[in-house]
């Protein structure tokens, strides 16, 4: 195969010219993945905290299942969401298949277990550490939960980033439920798959570089916020 780098300049050119299509794809990718990460955090973090701080029958099973679901295959998630949202499926009347909403749903389902399982681990570890002091200081339940969430916030941000990275890198599920519709549900990863199938390897590779750069930038921003907050919050 010829070196795909020969044409790299054309992709850079696209970027420099602020290509409108590329801009829209990047924007949609970010919007979908950030929404999915927020949604997954809203469900996954309280769920993780709940499992970490309560003792009930079958708790070990729940933990094993949560941990196992971290490895959910994106294609399977895509297929399940597809069958659910299809006009012939149970939620067909909503008309959500082949929309960005469906993609948000698929990505959120994919990463909720990751956020829940890792949050559970982080919160439980801190809880083990804090528990005797809380008992000696007579700290109430609500205050315990608030303190644990607050004091593990930096680890929780890292968990969010892990979820964001997994969702942003995912192609199988969004391809199936989004349909890779030009200008509507086409995101970075499905564009890369499409350009690869068109044999446009240099452009595909360049889009890949841009995707990696975006993930790097998001992580760098989160890192800076963390550094700043750690300095100021002690």
């Amino acid at each position: 195969m010829r070196a795909p780098f020969l044409d790299f300049a054309s992709a850079i050119q696209l970027l420099i010219n602020g290509d409108a299509t590329l801009g829209a794809i990047v924007k949609l990718s970010l919007l979908v993945t950030l929404s999915a990460t927020a949604l997954a955090a809203l469900i996954g973090m309280p769920l993780g905290a709940l499992v970490a701080l309560t003792r009930f029958k079958g708790r070990s099973a729940v933990i094993v299942i949560l941990n196992g679901l971290m490895g959910l295959p994106p294609v399977v998630v895509g297929l399940l969401v597809f069958l659910t949202l299809s006009r012939s499926g149970p939620l067909g009347t909503l008309g959500l298949l082949f929309t960005p909403t469906a993609m948000v749903a698929a990505q959120a389902i994919l990463i909720t277990p990751i956020i829940a399982a890792l949050s559970r681990q982080v919160i439980e570890d801190l809880w083990t550490e804090y528990e005797p002091e809380f008992a000696a200081l007579h700290i109430g339940t609500r205050q315990r939960i608030t303190a644990l969430l607050w004091d593990s916030r930096f680890s929780l941000i890292t968990i969010l980033l892990a979820g964001f990275g997994r969702a942003a890198a995912e192609v199988g599920a969004v391809m199936i439920v989004g349909g890779n519709i030009d200008g509507f549900t086409r995101v970075m990863t499905t564009s890369i798959a499409l350009e690869t199938s068109k044999g446009n390897l240099p452009l595909a590779l360049s889009l890949g570089m841009i995707l990696i750069a975006i993930i790097m930038i998001v992580n760098a921003l989160a890192w800076s916020v963390r550094q700043w907050a750690e300095r100021h919050a002690g």
């Binding site: 002091e133 000696a136 200081l137 750690e230 002690g234």
Partner: protein, 234 residues
């Protein structure tokens, strides 16, 4: 020995035993603790000092026997290895204050930090403090509960003489302020310096409870004599 003091006891143990499974940790301990100078808890490792402190605090419940308090006895506890919240020095104090009805103003925080000589470290992350400083912060956190009884589990273990002196000074001044101190130590010199009376434990049983000078000059049990002579008690 109850007739050593004419003051009513703050806390009375009646034939208290504590077992874990078939292992007897404490057996048949009866004693009265009265307000006044610090009570020092001596005995070899494994003699039950930490367990006795936790029973007094209410962190453990006796397997048999009874512990009775005077009404509304405010108690506080400092672990041998206290856990700092992942926050600033001041925020650690504020957290302890939030568990009480006391006002959590900067003035209260500063005055507590002044009592343990840490006011200059107000904004420092608590986990970045030295071992001795963390121990002092833990004492300040306990003092934030405004206790009448303060239980300390070997607060000077593994500290250098300077740090030890700082902590002993805090304890002396708290005792002078009317806080009853019960403190475990394995340092005979420290017991001599601080104690009003001595509780000596061996193999989970109460060996002696006697005013400090008596213990060092005329130990009444063979175990205590061996302990003072530096022999191993097996």
């Amino acid at each position: 020995m109850r007739d050593d003091t004419t003051v009513t006891p703050m806390i009375r143990l009646t034939r208290v035993s504590y077992d874990i499974g078939i292992t007897k940790i404490l057996t048949d301990v009866s004693l009265d603790l009265a307000p006044g100078k610090p009570t020092l808890l001596l005995g070899p490792n494994g003699s039950g000092k930490t367990t006795l402190l936790k029973l007094l605090m209410g962190l453990l419940t006796p397997t048999s026997g009874a512990i009775s308090n005077t009404r509304d006895l405010r108690k506080a506890f400092v672990f041998q290895k206290p856990v700092m919240l992942k926050r600033s020095v001041a925020a650690n104090i504020a957290f302890a204050l939030s568990a009480t009805k006391r006002d959590a103003s900067q003035a209260t925080i500063s005055s507590l930090l002044r009592r343990v000589g840490l006011e200059h470290l107000h904004d420092r992350p608590a986990r970045k403090l030295s071992g001795g400083e963390q121990q002092r912060l833990a004492i300040a956190r306990a003092l934030a509960l405004n206790p009448m009884l303060l239980l300390l589990d070997e607060p000077t273990a593994s500290l250098d003489p300077t740090a030890t002196k700082a902590i002993e000074d805090i304890i002396t001044s708290a005792a002078n302020d009317g806080v009853k101190i019960i403190m475990a130590t394995h340092d005979l010199g420290e017991a001599r310096r601080l104690a009003g009376d001595i509780i000596f434990l061996a193999r989970g049983r109460l060996g002696e409870h006697t005013p400090s000078p008596n213990f060092f000059t005329r130990p009444s049990t063979p175990d205590a004599q061996h302990f003072l002579a530096g022999d191993l008690i097996i």
